[in-house]
């Protein structure tokens, strides 16, 4: 496997507070990685650092062998580093199709509006939103907005997709649907970093897990090993939960 994204000692301070501190890890092409940690651990900040929303205070981000530490958000998008938002960000007055076309046009490098529209329609098929292509984005309900967000990111032809809490606010059935979709995306060869609160979800989908706590990476590796890591149990899971997960995995 080849490495697609690497962080070297990445740090970010907001007025003296270390939001992210000395984080290093790398993603292999095609894998699905879970990023977990308690609220305020710096997960979203980390995504913002990778995608150029905030400038780094220290360290380096290497994407496909290129140092992209000083990139701006739009450059990240064009390079193939796409992300979704915890709070979805559609263009409310545009149609669903136009929203996705925007991704194809600017992030995906379509040369004409027509080409972007064609590509956008394919992605809408893929995420299952083709039937609402011509309605206004603002009229969609939450699960479909999340799908729209995914379609928009996919239209950008990403190499790496950072998913920030795509399942937040969804019910169990909707989550299952979303997970299927994420697996389908991974099958297209897209590397996925998924931020997720629900441990079950993370464990079922990730090949590796990173644990962030107070801005520092306290553990990374195989899901089973990570959740047994005493530090992770202490900081995040709580001993009860760890025991339950362990029991469940024994039964299985």
């Amino acid at each position: 496997m080849t490495e697609i994204l690497r962080l070297e000692n990445v740090g970010k301070q907001f007025g003296g507070i270390h939001a992210v501190n000395n984080v290093s890890f790398s993603l292999e092409e095609g894998e699905i990685i879970g990023l977990i940690g308690p609220n305020g651990a710096g997960k979203t900040t980390l995504v913002n650092l990778i995608t150029g929303v905030h400038p780094l205070s220290s360290g380096k981000v290497i994407f496909a062998g290129e140092d992209v530490s000083r990139q701006q958000a739009f450059q990240a998008a064009r390079r193939g580093l796409a992300r979704t938002f915890q709070i979805v960000q559609p263009f409310p007055k545009m149609t669903v199709l136009e929203n996705v076309a925007a991704g194809a046009m600017f992030g995906g490098g379509s040369t004409s509006v027509q080409e972007a529209m064609v590509l956008a329609r394919e992605e809408l098929e893929f995420v299952g939103l083709a039937h609402v292509a011509d309605t206004a984005a603002s009229s969609l309900a939450l699960p479909n907005r999340k799908r729209l967000e995914l379609a928009k990111s996919l239209a950008m032809r990403p190499k790496v997709l950072l998913l920030d809490e795509v399942n937040a606010g969804l019910n169990a059935t909707e989550i299952d649907g979303a997970l299927d979709l994420i697996r389908k995306i991974a099958a297209r060869g897209v590397t996925i970093l998924i931020i997720e609160h629900l441990m079950k979800v993370v464990l079922s989908i990730s090949q590796r897990i990173l644990v962030l706590h107070h801005g520092e990476l306290i553990a990374q590796g195989d899901p089973r090993t990570v959740i047994e890591d005493p530090q992770v149990v202490e900081a995040y899971l709580g001993s009860k939960f760890a025991a339950r997960v362990k029991a469940e995995s024994h039964h299985a």
Partner: protein, 324 residues
């Protein structure tokens, strides 16, 4: 179909204006020039205020710099057309540089900043007496020919610039650029995230909102033969132009042109009949516009309106019928 209708309407309008020197008196030609000139500025403002959604109030700065650049170039021996072109280019460069600075601001701060630019350019022009003649103003070399010919020439030049500005706006509307600008107007952060170079796009939109204003400014200066800072960098002008666009429909292709036409027509009527209260009446129109036509004339659902009115009327007539 809709597009065809749009172009047809525009072509018809231009033809009507272009016909005025053949058919009408000097007063009407003057109005035609004024309509063309303000239409250019309205179409220009639409790039930044309509497509991009930035509340820009710097139109008068671009217009004023255009006036002065053209006038000063001519006074220094530059031939007429070259002087106009010089003014246009200068304004474009000015807007691009300025845009790089003030487009970092958003919302209220951008609005205030863009108005301040008008004040600042006016103040600088007033105090830079050696170049601009200061508060006394500047005489501009007169155009050759009798008044009729001059008015005709000015009208056709203004109309030419209008066609150019309109074609540019049609092109932008259909292109990647326009798409990106519309993304910015709805959610700038999200636009950035999908790969729109928002800074560059905004600067282009701001420059487009300036360049044609510079051109009509220079032509205007040649037409009137005398310019002064208060007249050239007028706050009234800088606010009137967005109002015209809002009246027609911001972000649409024909809206700015329709709005300008209606606005100037009303203005002329009020000038002629209520000279003393002219300004208050225009203020009243603005208040009316904000409350009753927030999306402009083009976006009214005319068919529904017609249906509603005819229903009302038929109820009214059947009632009166029953009564008699």
């Amino acid at each position: 179909m809709k597009q065809l209708l749009c172009f047809g309407a525009f072509a018809l309008w231009v033809a009507m204006i272009a016909a005025t020197p053949l058919l009408a008196d000097n007063y009407t030609i003057r109005i035609a020039i004024s309509v063309s000139m303000f239409s250019v500025m309205a179409v220009s403002w639409n790039f930044i205020g309509g497509f991009t959604g930035y509340p820009s109030f710097s139109t008068a700065a671009f217009f004023g710099i255009g006036c002065y650049a053209g006038a000063i170039a001519q006074r220094n021996g530059v031939p007429l057309v070259l002087a106009w072109m010089f003014a246009t280019i200068l304004v474009a460069v000015f807007a691009a540089l300025l845009g790089a600075i003030i487009l970092r601001l958003k919302g209220h701060y951008f609005a205030i900043g863009s108005i301040a630019i008008v004040e600042l350019t006016r103040l600088i022009t007033s105090s830079w007496g050696s170049l601009t003649g200061g508060g006394d103003g500047l005489n501009v070399p007169l155009l050759q020919g009798n008044p009729q010919e001059v008015a005709g020439l000015v009208l056709y030049v203004m109309l030419g610039i209008l066609v150019l500005a309109f074609v540019t706006s049609v092109y932008v509307d259909r292109s990647r650029l326009g798409f990106g600008l519309k993304c910015i107007s709805q959610n700038e952060d999200a636009a950035n995230m999908v790969g729109v170079n928002t800074t560059a796009f905004k600067i282009v939109a701001y420059t487009l909102s300036a360049v044609f204003c510079g051109a009509v400014g220079a032509v205007y200066a040649s037409w009137v033969g005398y310019i002064d800072p208060t007249d050239s960098f007028s706050i009234l002008l800088t606010l009137k132009v967005p109002v015209m666009v809002l009246l027609g429909g911001a972000g649409t292709l024909l809206g700015p042109i329709l709005g300008t036409g209606v606005f100037i027509l009303l203005e002329e009527i009020f000038w002629a009949n209520f000279l003393e209260w002219n300004r208050a009446i225009l203020g009243g129109i603005i208040v009316f516009l904000i409350f009753f036509l927030p999306n402009g004339l083009l976006k009214i659902q005319y068919l529904q309106l017609y249906a509603a009115v005819s229903r009302k009327l038929s109820i009214g007539s059947s009632k009166s019928g029953a009564g008699s």
